[in-house]
Structures are given as C-alpha cells and as structure tokens.
Symmetry: C2
Subunit: 191 residues, 2 copies
C-alpha cells in the first residue's frame, strides 16, 4: 500500500522548522541539509517543497506575516484595545522575536531581489491598512479624518517597527515592560 | 623608486566603493571582484585591506555610523533644532538611503555573528545617548528628568528607525516631505 502523505501539512512543517532555524542562525547560516535533518526527511523532500533557499525564505516570511495579522485580528475581534492589538506584533516573546528576525533576513534579501522588494512593499502597505482599521474601532483614540488616521497609522507602524528592531537585537535594554510602556506613551500622544 | 601608496586613503576608497555596491545589490550580491573592478585595483589589494566580505561589511557599517553621527553633531554645533539634527539620520537622499541599506544588511548578518551583534548593541546605545544629548540642548523640547529624557530618546530612536525602514523599501509611499512631517508630529507630541 502506498504511504499517504499530507503534502500541505508536511510543507507547513518544513516551513515552520525552517523559520525556527533561520531565526536562530540567520538565512545565510542555515542549509537545506539542516532543515531536512530537523524535519526528519531527506534534502530531496525539502527541495520538492521549496525549489531553493530563497523560495523557502519567501514562504517563511509570508507565514510569519499571515500569522501575525491573524493574531492582531483575533485580539481585535475579542474587543481588545489598540495597545493590546499592537502588542501582538511587538517582540514580547520568543515566537514574535523569531518573526522579527525572519523579517530582518527578508529585508536584507529584498535589496537585490525585485520580487522580495515588491512583496515587502505590499505587506508594509497592508500592515498600515490594518492599523487604520484598528484605529477606526479603537475606543481609546478619538475620531479623526481619513488624513489624520493615515498619519496616525504611519506613526504607529514606524514606532512598532522601530521598537521591534531595537528589542530584537538588544532585549536586555528593551525588555517587554519597557516596550509596552513606550507603545502606550505613543498611543496617548496620538491625540 | 617604490610607488608611494597612502594606505589609509586607499582603504577608505575601497570601503566607500564597497558601501555603494552593497547598498545597490545587497551584501550577498557583491563580490570582492566587483569591488576590485570598481576601485581599479586587483582582488589581492581588496583582500589585503579586508580579509573577507564580512570584515568589509563590518568596516562599511562603522563608516556609515561614524559619518551619520558626525553629520548630526555638525548640525547641532551650528545650533540646528532637534528636527534638523534628526533629519540628518532619515533617508531623505541617496546617501542616507544607502546608509540605511547597509545597516539592514548588517542587521541580517548580526543574527549569526556574535561580534556583529555586540557592535549593533553598542551602536544602538550610542545612538540613544546622542539623542539624549540633542534633547538636552534642544530649545523646542521642554526640560525633563533623566528618566523622561531616556524615554523620549527611545521613542525618537524607534520612530526614526521605523520611518527609515519603511522609506528605504517604499520611497514612493514615504517621500521626504512626509517623513519630515511625521518626525515633526513625533517631536511635538513629546510634551
């Protein structure tokens, strides 16, 4: 009897293992062999799902983005305030820190890859649109014109990305409590 | 007669050419051969100054940092306001955008290199200290306690890094005028 393999599940498993390895060692520090070993399969299987390492990084980036957006929306749908929704993006635990490391790997790769660059732009604009949505339903921020909303979303996106870049590389100097306090100060200052 | 070579000047030239190439093609997209060709010397000369590409990136990163800090201090010494001083860091022209691209390359490399990581932390803390200094002499921000100054410096550092990350990858959506307006809003909101 042929062995039944759930290809989608296996592809997801491989991508999840690759994400963890990339977050630990950077994209240049990980080989297809490492991923295959951790996933308990052959390098041929990894190559079957992802043609090359760049393809794998693209997929891992998308997963990290999709997962983060879903986490934000879940919080919003439960009626969480703006602070709590945005904290779903900040690197407050290992998983979210791993996502930021993947994004930084992706940013560096985007410099010489037009497809990565286009994806990066698209996802940046989507993130801003998501923050506009959060601002529209947030009870802790007063009503504003679309132009003001856009500026507020840009400031929040910038501060979240900036705090995350500092905290990813220097977590001792940017602990979770401090990140939350800085985000709260930013939200309070939106007016 | 032996040819007299100003080694420091030549090393600086090679680093400057490497910086430009890395900003265009990313660190993975640049070879020692490319740098030698642009610098009009042999690959042996490039390798004499920089043992390998990682060494070169380290040097290029330091130069970009030193140059940026010097630009900020020059503006401050001329009596420029906080906004003008911080605009010296934002990617408002090609040179400053190139610096950010180099930093993003460096960030990705820092993930699997403890020396790069230590350098990244040190420079991040120095940048924050520089902003504290700017806040202390800024006429457009009211007096504050050291704790408040530290928080203000962290918010400004985060917003400058965040704005720069968005603008480097999507300059059409984050033009110079908008970056300046967002920074001004941030400074006004510091209280």
């Amino acid at each position: 009897m042929p062995r039944i393999v759930d290809h989608e599940a296996r592809r997801r498993d491989v991508a999840r293992i690759a994400a963890r390895l990339i977050a630990v060692a950077g994209v240049e520090g990980v080989t297809v062999r490492d991923i295959a070993r951790e996933a308990g399969c052959s390098t041929a299987v990894v190559s079957h799902y992802f043609r090359n390492k760049r393809e794998l990084l693209f997929s891992v980036y998308r997963n990290a983005m999709t997962e983060t957006v879903a986490r934000v929306r879940r919080r919003r749908d439960r009626g969480a305030d703006l602070q709590t929704c945005l904290e779903a993006i900040l690197p407050l635990d290992r998983q979210r820190r791993d996502n930021w490391k993947i994004w930084f790997s992706f940013w560096a790769t985007a410099m010489d890859d037009v497809r990565f660059m286009a994806e990066q732009r698209l996802r940046g604009r989507e993130a801003r649109q998501l923050i506009v949505e959060l601002l529209e339903t947030a009870s802790d921020v007063s009503a504003a014109s679309p132009e003001t909303r856009d500026m507020q979303a840009r400031r929040l996106l910038a501060v979240v990305a900036g705090l995350s870049s500092q905290a990813t590389y220097d977590p001792a100097d940017w602990p979770a409590k401090r990140l939350s306090a800085l985000l709260a100060a930013e939200i309070a200052a939106l007016g």
